[in-house]
């Protein structure tokens, strides 16, 4: 625009050194070994002892059409996790808000929920809420189906932990980022959405995926509501055959394979994001 400016490109334009070449085995680590090991053990049981293990695998694994076994576990985990993320994000933003009432609501929620076990929330919502609706609101024959009750309970309970994760993530972003955003005329919501949260998400990805894996395992609690997840199917099979050792070993193997797999996936996402950033 003005000619008086002389670019001093000599100072700043040193070439970026080439990245070391990355092969597919560069990131081959103990999690892959664990996953492969678990799969090998499952395959050996399945093929080397067909009569003893194949019926257990078939029953506990469940079927996609029936929506039971592993499919129930995955469906519940996925649906609940989506709601948990939304609650965690909204409450997390409220927790760092300068508006006293919003901050107060979010803090109270976190403190109350964290003090009560997840199983108690599940039981209370499933068995307790219909009674409350009947006695207080006069709604007769009010029933909550098992699946939505379980999703609600997990969302409520895990949302509090997720709130704390989002709060910590937002607070880890330097104050200057918000100031720079505001100085450009962005309002608080715009700054949160475009500047603070995208950076916070990178920071909180490890604890968030940790929560996902914990939720996947805790989803076994829904078997108390009669929902046919991996654990419930295992218990039913034991009830029929009394083969407790074999059955619970298969149940454990299925959870292990799932959790190790998702841990791998999240590590891969983290790596991808950190590559993008630099």
């Amino acid at each position: 625009m003005t000619d008086s400016h002389k670019p001093l490109s000599v100072v700043g334009s040193a070439p970026v050194p080439a990245q070391p070449t990355s092969h597919w085995w560069t990131h081959f680590d103990r999690y892959w070994l664990l996953l492969i090991g678990a799969l090998v053990v499952a395959a050996v049981l399945f093929f080397a002892f067909p009569e003893r293990f194949q019926p257990i695998f078939r029953y506990v694994f469940g079927s996609y059409a029936g929506g039971d076994g592993i499919f129930m576990t995955l469906k519940l985990t996925a649906v609940a996790f989506l709601f948990i993320l939304v609650v965690g994000m909204v409450m997390g933003v409220m927790r760092v808000s300068s508006v006293g009432i919003l901050k107060g609501i979010a803090s109270l929620y976190v403190e109350i929920v964290r003090g009560v076990p997840v199983l108690v929330w599940i039981l209370w919502i499933y068995f307790g809420l219909p009674v409350f609706f009947r006695d207080v609101l006069g709604l007769k024959d009010m029933r909550i189906a098992g699946f939505p009750a379980a999703v609600a309970a997990f969302t409520f309970a895990y949302g509090a932990y997720m709130t704390e994760i989002f709060r910590a993530g937002i607070q880890s972003i330097p104050k200057g980022q918000m100031e720079a955003s505001r100085s450009l005329g962005m309002n608080y919501i715009q700054a949160m959405r475009h500047i603070i949260l995208p950076q916070a998400v990178r920071v909180i990805l490890p604890p968030v995926s940790n929560e996902f894996v914990t939720l996947l395992k805790d989803s076994s609690l829904i078997s108390v509501l009669g929902l046919e997840d991996i654990t419930r199917r295992g218990r039913e099979w034991v009830g029929r055959t009394f083969a407790s050792f074999d059955t619970y070993m298969v149940v454990a193997l299925l959870y292990l394979i799932l959790t190790v797999f998702f841990t791998r996936v999240s590590t891969a996402i983290e790596r991808q994001l950190s590559v993008e950033k630099r």
């Binding site: 100072v11 720079a180 100085s183 450009l184 005329g185 962005m186 715009q190 475009h194 990178r202 630099r278």
Partner: protein
Amino acid sequence: MPEPIIRIRNVHKWFGKTHALDDVSMDVEQGEVLVIIGPSGSGKSTLLRTINHLETVNSGEIVVDGIPLTHKSTDINAVRAEVGMVFQQFNLFPHLTARQNITLAQRIVRKRNAAEADRTASELLERVGIPEKADSYPGQLSGGQQQRVAIARALAMDPKIMLFDEPTSALDPEMIKEVLEVMLDLAQSGMTMLCVTHEMGFARAAARRIVFMDEGKIVEENTPEGLFSAPKSDRTKLFLSNILDR
């Protein structure tokens, strides 16, 4: 005489028991380049930050381009979009490329379309001398390059006023020059600028007026020649002898 673009009247600011701004009054004319100097803790950064409302004041009046910041009904975001700010720590958005850093606020605050915002970004990166860094992330840039992107980001909003809060204090000596050249260029183009800086060479070359602050008060206002050759107050003399003797 035209209405000053910034009018500050009897401003007081307290941080707990610290009187950060003590009855500060000042006018800045359109197109003026003003340099604010003073020891650390003198309130110079705080004064700058009150002008785009990053700090609120306890009493007094600040009017920017005819809009009183101290009124509750004022849309602060609209005022901020007219006032560009450059920070000591650059504060670039690390998850966005240089180009995206410059285009984001244009799109969501100024409501420009992507092509227009992009064109502005390219022009400004050219102007600050690093067009080839458009697709680099801040982490891949040197401090001087980052600060030049930060200046471009602020200029992209077409501000009427630019605030510089110690823009070269976090830079290696050899990078200070590239940032000062951009600032000098901007000063010559007629931009209204308020700069908190320790770069006396820049103050001498660019400033029409220098304000010396100490303990939250404006101690002296003077032309660069006047201030450096014949400072009016003893406090100014002492400060200048301390920094110029180094």
